[in-house]
């Protein structure tokens, strides 16, 4: 059974690239472009992993992460934060809120894929 990935980003071009990468790896891909849509999508699609941007309309990535972690039903959902904000405080904040990994944009596509596979336990 294919792993499901939810891509959450408001930059259309980034979404296009991520979608392409994830599909190429054989994942099922869903997309959300703002925080609220992301949460809705998590509920509906029950993704295995969320690629989560932080600067999002309506609800930012931190809030989305927090909400996911607060819900007992969603404990299995893995979260990889992707953000252009590279400051240490942001990284620390993301990890503290329960993100499984934190990647700074622009990222290496190889690294991202390796990270995602590792988290999902795919060797």
């Amino acid at each position: 059974m294919n792993k499901r990935i939810l891509i959450v980003d408001d930059e259309p071009n980034i979404v296009v690239s991520l979608e392409f990468l994830m599909k190429r790896e054989g994942f099922e891909v869903a997309v959300a472009t703002d925080g609220e849509a992301a949460l809705k999508s998590v509920e509906e699609k029950q993704p295995d992993l969320v690629l989560l941007d932080i600067m999002l309309p309506k609800k930012n990535g931190f809030e989305v992460c927090q909400t996911i972690r607060a819900n007992p039903d969603w404990q299995g959902v893995k979260i990889v934060m992707l953000t252009a904000k590279g400051r240490d405080t942001e990284v620390a904040k993301g990890t503290a809120l329960g993100a499984d990994a934190y990647m700074t944009k622009p990222f290496s596509t190889k690294d991202l894929i390796a990270q995602v596979r590792q988290i999902l336990g795919i060797t």
Partner: protein, 923 residues
């Protein structure tokens, strides 16, 4: 058997010991190792207050009034409690002004008045003479009684003994000689008589021990303790009455008045002033005296009642004068050694008082009475004298002899009319007259010389009339008629019932009227005229002594010219040439000058010389002497104006200071604000950097991702390949645009941007911009409406920059308009009389009120949270606003959510390209 020669030799031995102590004290003082720099010695020397009047007289008074002897000691005890306020101030004033005596004190306070100094001296001498005669009487009586040992024979009436057989005469002569030896070896009266003080302290110990010895002997030797002695007295009705207070109003009245009198006496008796103020080494010694001196008074009074009662029981027939009980009780018991010790105790009480009192009085007589007269009388003659210090010493020695002689004469003439205590109280009442002038002088700046003279004179005359003359009358010098009938037979003028005031004893009566006259005249006369300049300056020095113990304030009130060559010989004449030169040299060194001749004879030097001289001849005379060599210009109207001017300068200066401090506060506040702004800017810059980084990373992310995808997978299908490459190109353009705008913004903000200012027709700018954006309008099929006013004036601005602004506004308008239904209106109009205005109105989504401010901030694109992210860098509006503001205009938005937005800017017409600071507040 006590032979005359035994008594005489013991007495002289005692005096020899005293002299040795004094000599030792002086030697140690010269060597700089003072033996009196000790608070206990100071307190003991204050006990010079206890004279033979205490030693013999307390028992005498107790025999007639019971505990009525106590107020004399109660007063000083109470006063000692106030010393820390009152006496400390007097001491401080006296040290600062080199005061030599109480007369000097009063005359200095009231403008260095010679008249006042003389008046005080006369009052003091006349007032104290009876007191001195009292000592002579006591010593002479005790000597006579002792001569008859073991028989107890009361001495004959003073006048009954032939002059040359009168022991009092010889005692007076011996005391005079002794005092001269003691007190006038040095000249400078402010140079303290340290040896004398040491001797006086020793005498205080001797008289206390002697009195305690008698007391203990009588109480525990003759009787069996206090209980026994008072128990037996209880049985005798007359004695029982002595031990309780009589409850008549008069007796309470005299308690009050005696307590009050002795409170003043402990301060103002010349000998007390001498010891407490002039001889004081260190004002902090006062602290111990405040409790030690009252303790001494208690000790010396403990046995007064037992001795009195014992004496009255021992000599019930009244044949023995109670004044002599202290001596006659041990005599009656044949206690030779004790008797002799008591005599020595009495002698010590007398000599202590006489020495200090006559030294104090002779200083006053010399400085405030004789010298002023001599200097005035034979001024020219004295001016020729090269060294007057010898003359001064002679005057003082003669004064000492004269005072004792007067004391003796009073003793011969009036001494018998009164018991010891009675005589003492007459002196107390005289000295009390100084109180208003002194207390007023140190606490009340309005007190004037005229007021002090009036008060002292009035009080003194009343004292003479109500106390001194009656004492003469009772001694037979005057007819008793004027006491019983009143002066000229007028009953209201009866000296001891003045204006019909009865029911008081003579002391209380006299005190009441004299104080009333004294205080009344002092206050009313003082209030009638304002103090003149010298009086006011002295008043300030005295009243505010704690504020400026430095005397420098005084010199401000003096203007004149003097020469060192004049001053030095002048001081030399009174102090001796060597000491004068030494003092000047010391002053010169202090000023950093090598010799006295190099000194500048300024006001301070003249003041120094005057103070130096004041120590020798008193303040008033010193002033006259210095004035004789100094061309003193009395402070005239110019001087007063100068002083006022200085005062107003001081005020102006303090106003400036206030102004400066206000400015400083304002500057501090500005700095604080600037600092806060800097911090804010720093934070904003930090945010800016963070935001710029974010904005740069976003396009980079896409570029990198697609590049890697294309690189890794060459077999990617063509459609995807084209799509990805298009994204890369677009994102690269976005990146370039962003970098350009950030740099543009940075240039504008740092002031490094280039501006090509010229006369610009906004009409053309708008048309050019509309042409450039026509494809945008066409793509979204948006309606464009032009509303241009006619004859719009030119503005001064940069053509390209204005195009930049217009393009930004137009593209924004298009961006937020819905395709097909959008409509953009561009208006050009004249605003008021000074500005041209451009509006770009759209019918798009509009901007919420709370966002209308933030859209002008960098990277704050509104719409982020609403819909899909609009294209743009978030720097367009902030840059546009800065451009408009640079040319002195304004850029703003009016809008409400859902009803479109209108962006407007104005530019000043025909104004130069200079930016207007006040328009740039919103950054």
């Amino acid at each position: 058997m006590l032979q005359g020669w035994v008594i005489a030799s013991v007495s002289f031995t005692y005096l020899g010991v005293l002299f040795a102590i004094a000599y030792f004290g002086d030697k140690r003082s010269d060597a700089g190792r003072s033996i009196i720099a000790n608070p206990t010695i100071f307190a003991l020397s204050l006990a010079v207050y206890c004279t033979t009047w205490t030693f013999y007289g307390s028992v005498g008074r107790a025999a007639s009034t019971g505990i009525g002897f106590l107020p004399i000691y109660l007063g000083p005890t109470l006063m000692a409690g106030l010393w820390w306020f009152v006496m400390l101030k007097i001491i401080r004033i006296s040290k600062a002004n080199r005061i030599t005596s109480i007369a000097d004190f009063i005359s200095s306070r009231y403008g260095k008045s010679q008249l006042l100094g003389g008046l005080v001296t006369v009052i003091a001498v006349i007032g104290i003479i009876p007191y001195i005669s009292l000592q002579l009487k006591a010593v002479s009586n005790s000597f006579t009684i002792l001569l008859h040992y073991p028989e107890i024979v009361m001495p004959a009436k003073a006048g009954a003994v032939p002059l040359l057989h009168d022991s009092a005469l010889y005692i007076a002569m011996i005391l005079a000689a002794f005092t001269i030896l003691f007190g006038t070896r040095h000249l400078d009266a402010t140079e303290r008589h340290e040896g004398m003080v040491a001797a006086i302290a020793f005498e205080s110990v001797v008289k206390l021990l002697a009195f305690l010895a008698v007391g203990i002997y009588v109480t525990f030797g003759i009787y069996n303790g206090f209980g026994d002695i008072f128990g037996r007295a209880e049985l005798v009705p007359k004695l029982k009455a002595l031990m309780t207070m009589t409850d008549s109003g008069a007796s309470y009245g005299s308690w009050w008045s005696l307590t009050f009198l002795s409170m003043l006496s402990i301060m103002f008796l010349p000998r007390q002033f001498q010891i407490t103020v002039v001889e004081n080494v260190n004002e902090r010694h006062l602290a111990r005296a405040i409790w030690l001196f009252p303790l001494y008074l208690i000790l010396i009074n403990i046995f007064v009642l037992p001795i009195t009662v014992g004496g009255l029981m021992h000599f019930p027939d009244g044949s023995v004068d109670a004044d002599t009980f202290v001596l006659t009780l041990p005599m009656a018991e044949r206690q030779e050694v004790l008797t002799l010790f008591v005599f020595i105790g009495g002698l010590s009480a007398a000599t202590g008082m006489v020495i200090v009192e006559t030294i104090a009085l002779s200083t006053m007589v010399c400085n405030d009475l004789v010298m002023p007269v001599l200097l005035r009388w034979k001024r020219l003659h004295l001016q020729e004298e090269q060294d007057l210090s010898g003359l001064l010493l002679t005057i003082r020695r003669l004064a000492i002899a004269a005072i004792l002689l007067l004391g003796y004469i009073y003793f011969r003439a009036a001494g018998e009319a009164y018991a010891l205590v009675g005589i003492g109280l007459i002196s107390f009442a005289a000295v009390a007259q100084f109180a208003p002038a002194i207390f007023g002088g140190i606490y009340w700046k309005e007190g004037t010389r005229a007021g002090a003279i009036a008060g002292l004179t009035a009080g003194f005359l009343v004292w003479i009339y109500t106390l001194l003359l009656p004492s003469f009358a009772k001694s037979g010098w005057l007819s008793l008629d004027f006491i019983s009938e009143g002066l000229f037979g007028v009953a209201l003028l009866k000296p001891q019932q003045l204006f019909g005031l009865t029911g008081l004893d003579e002391i209380t009566h006299s005190l009441f009227w004299s104080m009333l006259a004294n205080i009344g005249c002092y206050v009313t006369v003082s209030l009638r005229k304002r103090p003149d300049l010298v009086e006011a300056s002295q008043a300030t020095l005295f009243v505010d002594v704690f504020r400026h113990t430095e005397g420098s304030a005084r010199s401000r009130f003096w203007r004149g010219s003097a020469k060192v060559q004049d001053l030095l010989p002048l001081i030399g004449r009174f102090l001796g040439p060597d000491r004068a030169r030494g003092a000047f040299l010391a002053y010169a060194r202090q000023r950093g000058v090598d010799s006295a001749e190099q000194l500048e004879a300024d006001a301070d030097l003249v003041h120094y010389a005057e103070t130096l001289l004041a120590g020798a001849i008193g303040g008033a005379s010193a002033r006259v002497m210095v004035a004789s060599v100094v061309k003193e210009e009395p402070p005239g109207i110019d001087e007063v104006m100068n002083i006022l001017d200085e005062a107003s300068q001081v005020r102006a200066y303090s106003r400036q200071l206030e102004q400066k401090s206000r400015e400083l506060e304002a500057a501090t506040a500005e700095l604080r604000a600037a600092n806060a702004q800097l911090k804010e800017l720093d934070r904003m810059k930090d945010d800016f950097m963070s935001t710029v980084t974010h904005e740069l990373r976003t396009p980079l992310t896409s570029i990198r991702s697609f590049s890697e995808i294309l690189l890794e997978d060459p077999k990617i299908n063509l459609a995807d390949r084209k799509k990805f490459l298009a994204i890369i190109v677009k994102e690269t353009e976005r990146l370039t645009r962003l970098i350009n705008q950030v740099l543009d913004m940075a240039k504008i903000e740092s002031g490094n941007a280039e501006w090509h200012t010229a006369d610009i027709d906004l009409h053309e700018i708008i048309e050019e911009s509309l042409a450039a954006t026509s494809t945008l309008f066409a793509d979204k099929r948006i309606q464009l409406v032009r509303e241009f006013a006619e004859n719009v004036p030119m503005v001064k601005a940069d053509h390209d920059r204005l195009i930049q602004v217009m393009l930004n506004l137009l593209s924004n308008a298009v961006k937020f308009c819905e395709a097909d239904r959008g409509r953009v209106i561009v208006r050009l109009s004249v605003e008021g009389s000074h500005a041209v205005r451009v509006d770009v109105e759209d019918n798009g989504a509009g901007i919420a009120e709370e966002d209308q401010h933030t859209i002008f901030e960098k990277f704050r694109q509104v719409g982020d949270t609403l819909t899909a992210k609009p294209q743009g860098t978030g720097l367009g509006l902030p840059i546009s606003r800065r451009i408009v503001e640079h040319f002195g205009g304004r850029l703003w938005v009016t809008s409400s959510l859902g009803k479109g937005a209108t962006f407007s800017f104005t530019l000043p017409m025909n104004m130069g390209g200079g930016k207007r600071q006040e328009e740039r507040r919103e950054i």
